[in-house]
Symmetry: C2
């Protein structure tokens, strides 16, 4: 009756060279051995309390990432997606700053730009596209993109991240207003970053938003 193959996959996203990248791993087993694919695997019934737990474990073991922003994306199931038979993949997505990934990444993992991705096994292409769409649409209304920034960041840096995700410029004044409205970041006392011009105040995500989102009703639209 229950011949369903049940796995957990993770779409690990980060920003690198001003573009969204996904972490892929060379599969060491059939089917599709040797192909780049999403990190994933079977549930360990004795070890994983739930699917988020399994996704965490996979990220830890396969990519060396320990406490990313992690959320369930949805389940991709059906008869056609896996040559072994009817299967269900509980897909998740994770966001981490590039710094974290650079430090932790095992050599087997590759970061690939999400735009123009192709040749993925199973329906991993669809899963990645769904994750990217989800992240983009949530970005408009929430603090989600902040999880792609490092531990400390300036508001202009954060705005750049939002702009990269949404693919269009944001009005600077509106962005400052939005950051105040979401109330998710706090100044790091006496910490500034200077590159060229006036030094920028450094901020960090408030503790209570490290793994939760701050939402707003109002969209952050395009502007100059």
């Amino acid at each position: 009756m229950n011949s369903v193959i049940c796995t957990v996959d993770v779409v690990l996203l980060t920003l690198k060279n001003n573009a969204l990248h996904v972490a892929l791993i060379k599969r060491d087993r059939e089917p599709f051995a040797g192909t780049l694919a999403l990190p994933g695997g079977f549930v360990h019934a004795e070890e994983d309390r739930d699917d988020l737990d399994a996704a965490s474990r996979i990220l830890r073991d396969k990519a060396g990432i320990s406490s990313p922003y992690l959320e369930q994306l949805g389940t991709f199931a059906g008869a056609a997606r896996d040559p072994r038979g009817w299967s269900a993949s509980i897909a998740h997505y994770a966001l981490v700053p590039e710094a974290v990934i650079v430090k932790a990444l095992s050599p087997a993992v590759q970061l690939v730009p999400v735009d123009g991705l192709k040749g993925l096994p199973f329906d991993h292409q669809l899963i990645v596209e769904t994750a990217v769409t989800r992240v983009r649409s949530k970005s408009t209304y929430s603090s989600l993109p902040a999880h792609l920034a490092g531990e400390q960041f300036t508001i202009p840096q954060l705005q750049k991240i939002y702009e990269l995700l949404m693919g269009e410029p944001i009005n600077k004044v509106s962005f400052y207003r939005k950051m105040t409205e979401l109330a998710m970041i706090e100044e790091v006392p006496d910490a500034f970053e200077t590159t060229r011009g006036k030094p920028a105040q450094l901020y960090r995500l408030k503790k209570e938003f490290r793994s939760v989102l701050s939402m707003t009703d109002r969209a952050l639209n395009a502007g100059k």
Copy 2:
């Protein structure tokens, strides 16, 4: 390795007596035989092409509902939710007008108000709450609630549905504007409904939105 129990459950929602109701069925098997629970079941690997297909079949066979608005909600998985062991339920939600459900419903099915629901087996309480929250939050931005209206409806009737879902009154002018903006409904030529006062124009969902949503960026907020 893969001892995971994989099932599909459906949260079938409708409006009845001005309140959101969920369809529950008395379970005929262990565990929890005799208890009211969400309609659900195992995937039929030979019959169901994917999880939506399985959800459709379950609705058809258990509730006699044939083409509702149906969407995946998410997967509820873990070691603790089912006494038989580690399990994953791919949950879906469906919206139908009350008229459809009244005509189709088998006697084994009961409609229960979603507010104050309790005593459900497994984590079905959580699944229902998640579905209701999802429907409510999507309602603000989309044509979703129209799937709870009958085939033909007046704008004031539709507004009432939105108000019931969101739990607060909506500004009448804003609502008319929003309906125009979403562009998902069309007048039924020369069809009006009269109860008391000026007859109201009847509308229907445009064909292209029968199973898809029309979204807007702007929220529909409370008003008089």
